[in-house]
Amino acid sequence: MSAVIEIEGLRKTFHTLRRGRRVAVDGFDMVVEAGQVHGFLGPNGSGKTTTLRALLGLVRPDDGRMSVFGVPTPEELARVAGRVGAIVESPQFFGNFTGHRTLRLLAVAGGVPTSRVDEVLEQVGLRERGDDRVKGYSLGMKQRLAVASALLKDPELLILDEPANGLDPAGIREMRDLVRSLAASGVTVLISSHILAEIQLICDHVTIISGGRRVAAGRVDEVLAGFDQHEWQVDVAGPERAAALLREAGLSVTDHQGLLVVGGAREPELISRTLGEQGLWVRELTPIRPDLESVFLELTGTAPHPTLPRQVGGPALPGEGPEPMIDLDATAGRGVDA
């Protein structure tokens, strides 16, 4: 597969009078291959949106190399802009324009047939509200309109920054189905989102950013596998005796109100055989798999502290962020490894 997006060593520091110097992106790397549905995760202030804005030519990077469809960006982005549909951070629209007019103006400016407007309004579920003024739209409807604007070009690459913002559960599901259908038709999709369960459901690949640096990248299942502690939840009669037997077999055991959590067993047979040979019959043996949320919280160091509220924007200066922990970008192999 060919790389649709390549980012290497991206750096961006913002300077403001009030807040001084703030490193937003600090040597970030990312590769998105053709046909992927690629999740882009990171806590608030980690540099996700800055990265996307830099990629799309809205922010000038201080250093690094980026390309889209093999074309260096932002210098030559215009060459491939017609193949890229993007929304960046809840775009706003003129309240007095209707949704239809908003899209039609973009279509005219971009040289897209205006017949596409009705198609994309239908696609995002705004067909019946296309002639309403945008100021009457809910947050979710504005988000749908933003996605519609990104789809207008019939893009080969779709970049969606927080597409589920403001959507109700049904809307989130529709968005998921839409992304899946686009991916099935060959569109490469890069999604930045905070809804980790959603990313896990939609995406096949993921890049996690924290403190402006990549902390994990690769196939979703491989990233998760890297954090698999081979733990099992065991329900067995006589948990105290069972725990002792399993410890004797060299496994780690913790008792959670009568349910045992057993670690270190690559195969479940070890547990069932150890207990069965002693006449203890397992009633339940469930693998405890890491989910994206737990991996994300661990990698980004944003797990909630029982007493301290977490501060947004956390470590941002070089040397303060978390060290790169995992790189499972098995398919990349093109010089972007941290």
């Binding site: 913002f14 800055t50 804005r53 799309l56 030519g57 809205l58 922010v59 000038r60 932002p74 982005l77 215009a78 802009a81 890229v84 993007a86 960046v88 775009p91 706003q92 629209f93 003129f94 007095n96 324009f97 007019r101 103006l105 973009l106 005219v108 400016a109 971009g110 040289g111 604007s149 990104a150 070009k153």
Partner: protein, 337 residues
């Protein structure tokens, strides 16, 4: 071309632009209605009476001129209440810039030839306000609403996008200015023909009116570009409004007072309003007794000096050019966050 089309449509669809056009229309209707209601076609008797008054006034001028010449020649003494200028040619009716005309003595009669110029200045003033505010709000609202970012995702060429917006703005303002002038002056010309008097329109009348109009429209376009440029630099419509308010208060009012206290000569030369006036009217005569404090011919110094449209144009072009170039340079490199 597609981008130009989209930008023109976007500009015309903006509520603020539509509101300003409605306001222009409203001002036009109010002026027209009040003019029509306050004017009538004079009767032959009114005209004859006015003509007699004109002849009387001109005769009075001639009498004053002759009296002045005779006093200077020592033929008659200067009475105590009397005043004669140093140079009697000031009273010579032949040398007067403007002699009394019939229209001066017709009450309640709209005379197009006499009113066209102030009417045109009013229209230009409105178009100036229109151009500046629309120019500022067009780009200011687009930047704050994210419209520019949306557009750049489609056309990632910043200078092209900004240039197209400026082009669309000036084009729309120019077309609107032409259309408004034609309708406005055309209507009042018609009123002059039907409910008043056409007045004197021979000689350089249309030429002068055309020159004022041409300079006025150019000023409107410069004001549009200025509003656009300042709002681009400040990222907000309010930046342009604030800059103008700050300039007016700090420089035109505050600095003028300070300069006068410090006895700085030719303060008006330092004020932008002077150049706006000079450009619009062709030339401004200014007076400043500080000018006469030294130099050759001190005794003959009248303290007056003139600013013509040429330096005025240069100053205005330099200002708008500097702001516009800065706006494009900043926008080209700015982080759109």
């Amino acid at each position: 071309m597609k981008l130009v089309r989209a930008e023109v449509e976007r500009l015309l669809a903006r509520r603020f632009v539509q509101l300003m056009v409605v306001l222009l229309g409203f001002a036009f209707v109010v002026t027209t209605v009040t003019t029509v209601l306050g004017s009538h076609q004079p009767s032959a008797g009114e005209v004859a009476e006015a003509r007699a008054q004109v002849a009387e006034a001109i005769r009075g001028l001639e009498v004053e001129h002759q009296r002045c010449l005779r006093i200077k020649a020592g033929e008659i003494p200067l009475d105590e209440a009397g005043y004669v200028p140093a140079d009697c040619s000031e009273l010579d009716p032949v040398l007067q810039e403007r002699l009394p005309v019939v229209a001066d003595y017709l009450s309640g009669v709209f005379v197009f030839g006499q009113q066209a110029e102030p009417l045109l200045y009013f229209l230009i003033a409105f178009l100036l306000l229109f151009g500046f505010l629309v120019g500022a709000s067009y780009i200011g609202a687009d930047i704050t609403s994210g419209g520019v970012v949306n557009l750049l995702l489609w056309r990632p060429r910043r200078l092209t996008v900004l240039g197209t917006k400026l082009g669309a703005l000036t084009g729309v303002v120019a077309v609107l200015s032409v259309a408004a002038t034609v309708v406005y002056l055309g209507t009042f010309w018609l009123i002059g023909q039907t409910a008043g008097l056409p007045g004197r329109m021979e000689g350089p009348f249309w030429q002068n009116l055309g020159a004022i109009w041409g300079r006025g429209v150019a000023l409107v376009l410069l004001a549009s570009a200025l509003g656009f440029g300042i709002a681009t630099l400040g990222r907000h419509t309010s930046a342009a409004l604030g800059a103008v308010a700050a300039y007016a208060v700090v420089w035109e009012l505050g600095a003028r007072v300070v300069f006068e206290i410090l006895d700085v000569a030719r303060v008006d030369q330092l004020m932008l309003s002077t150049y706006v006036g000079a450009w619009l009217t062709g030339r401004v005569e200014l007076y400043d007794d500080q000018v006469c404090t030294d130099g050759p011919g001190f005794g003959l110094c009248t303290g007056s000096y003139t600013i013509t449209w040429v330096p005025a144009l240069l100053v205005l072009l330099a200002l708008v050019g500097a702001v516009t170039v800065s706006a494009f340079a900043v926008f080209r490199r700015r982080d759109l966050i």
